[in-house]
């Protein structure tokens, strides 16, 4: 269990915190945030590699704020892997073993298991410089896991890897987390990774931890606009009062659900479009002008102007072709009221 109390850092151009964070044992916690939001600093403070300006860090009930990194049993995997260039793959993986107190046969079996799971058996004698990005990342993982850490810290482990190999490593991380008794804490700027891997996520922005909760919670009920934008709600509007009701883009919303000055958010993929007014029962339906339509992969991205508010909509390419939409023409858009998020 990791507990961080009122952790702060002061840098010349940047202030981090105060951060309060609680991570359960064996949880897979992902700290999400844009580049430069202070995520790596938090990891390094847990590993003891950065001295906090103030605040305390507890690992499994023990105050480790002043404990040297070598006595914390915390493994760390960096984005750039940081493999020891003068050692072979095997020497890298086994680097930490001699410092472990319980060098039993059991730990050797664990190590063999890790090497096997990560598919590194045939690379053991190689120099680390001969490996691909994905292989390097697996060596870095094996090296950190070899010491059987209580906590594994992952600093954007996927972003330096070619996209083709990213899903392999992702799957591997999921698998490792399921089989090992280790608590995983990973930082990333990609919310798809969080969606795939995390039990719990925290969103950090400009040094402030904006929201923590289960993946579903944070993605479906972002607490504020910053989190909303970060988890992919590209349609964010501020409803206006007209008479006794609140309106946005010509649509009336239930005044019970929100109040003036707050925002509503909609994901582009939750909106469907059509040339007629026929939408499933209970849908909120708006009318607008199709302004642009761009193909993207197997989907299509549209912008639709509804009474001055611009909606971004993702749709299925084939679906849209069938409906025969034309730019500049009137179009209907609809969505289930549950797809509207209030924050």
């Amino acid at each position: 269990m990791i507990r961080i109390n009122q952790l702060t850092y002061q840098f010349p151009n940047f202030t981090l915190g105060p951060i309060d964070l609680h991570i359960e044992q064996q949880e897979f916690f992902i700290l999400l945030g844009p580049t430069g939001s202070g995520k790596t600093v938090i990891l390094e403070s847990i590993a003891g590699l950065q001295k906090p300006h103030s605040g305390d860090i507890f690992l499994f009930g023990k105050d480790v704020t002043r404990v040297a990194p070598e006595n914390r049993q915390v493994g760390i995997v960096y984005q750039d892997q940081a493999l020891f260039p003068h050692l072979t793959v095997q020497e890298n993986i086994e680097f930490g073993l001699r410092y472990q107190k319980n060098k039993t046969k059991a730990s050797k079996a664990v190590l063999a298991g890790i090497i096997d799971t990560l598919g590194l058996a045939r690379h053991l004698k190689k120099s680390t410089t001969k490996l691909s990005g994905g292989e390097k990342q697996r060596v870095a993982l094996a090296r950190a896991l070899a010491i059987q850490p209580q906590v594994l810290l992952l600093d954007e482990p996927l972003s330096a890897i070619d996209p083709c190999f990213r899903s392999d490593i992702q799957r591997l991380l999921r698998q490792l987390h399921e089989t090992l008794p280790t608590t995983f804490l990973m930082v990333t700027h990609d919310f798809n990774e969080a969606f795939y891997l995390a039990d719990t996520v925290g969103v950090i922005s400009k040094g402030i931890l904006e929201q923590t909760g289960t993946v579903e919670e944070v993605f479906q009920r972002p607490k504020n606009k910053a989190v909303g934008e970060f988890v992919g709600m590209q349609n964010i509007f501020t409803p206006q009062r007209e008479g006794r009701s609140l309106y946005f883009a010509g649509l009336r919303i239930d005044a019970e659900k929100t109040s003036e000055g707050r925002n509503v958010g909609l994901r582009p993929e939750d909106i469907t479009v059509g040339t007629t007014h026929s939408f499933p029962d209970g849908f909120m339906v708006g009318r607008g002008i199709l302004q642009s339509m761009t193909l993207q992969g197997f989907g299509c991205e549209m912008t639709i102007d509804c009474e001055g508010s611009t909606f971004l909509v993702h749709g299925d390419k084939g679906n849209i072709r069938d409906k025969g939409l034309t730019i500049g023409e009137q179009i209907y858009l609809g969505f289930h009221p549950d797809a509207v998020h209030y924050f």
């Binding site: 390094e44 590993a47 003891g48 590699l49 040297a68 990194p69 070598e70 006595n71 914390r72 049993q73 915390v74 493994g75 760390i76 960096y78 750039d80 940081a82 020891f84 260039p85 003068h86 680097f95 930490g96 410092y99 472990q100 090296r143 950190a144 010491i147």
Partner: protein, 245 residues
Amino acid sequence: MVLLFILLPLFEMVSQPSWNDLRETIADEEVRSAIFLSLTCSASAAAISFIFGTPMAYLLARTDFTGKKVVESMIDLPIMIPHPVIGIAILSLSGRNHWLGQFFQDIGIQLLGTKTGIITVLTFVALPFYINTAKAGFQAVPCRLEQVARSLGAGQSATFFRITVPLTWRHMITGFIMSMARAISEFGAVVIVAYHPMIAPVLMYERFTAYGLKYSQPVAVWLILICLVLFLLLRVVSSPIGKKN
């Protein structure tokens, strides 16, 4: 053209003395002992630089503190100060009317005209070359490697010897050789502190003033050959560093 300017004088000088002159010169007991003294004193100076310079270089490469620039400037000072001034400065300190000089004499250490004096002066001029090279080596090792080693359970000294040293020993050796070469080349500072015992550059100067150009050339050639050997060593050792760039 720049190369020519550097190489032509050296080449001409090396080619002027006859083989006979060279053979006679190296047979001269005085020349041999001067060259030997030069080599041992320079090596001692380089070794002292290595022992005291390594921690200093590591400190400068890894920490950041106010006034670091000032410290770095001070370490570079010996490169810039006129060589006789260095000799005079060190003598100033060791004179009998100075408390430190008095202390040194009480424990039997004398600088003027001794090997100790020569080594002190040579260390003074050699130190910056070692520190700067070693510092560059330490800076080339990413902090992250050391951090990861720490997180894997290695203490500070284990990390230094298992990670940092294996990745910087080339720089350290290069620094050692550079500081030794710099020490061998020194003349102005040594001539003030110790005319005797005579190191090779001083001997050469004496031959030049006493007998003229023709008699100093063979000694110069021998000295240059020794420097070239040192220098080749330096390049052989440091070449893999170059390849990395």
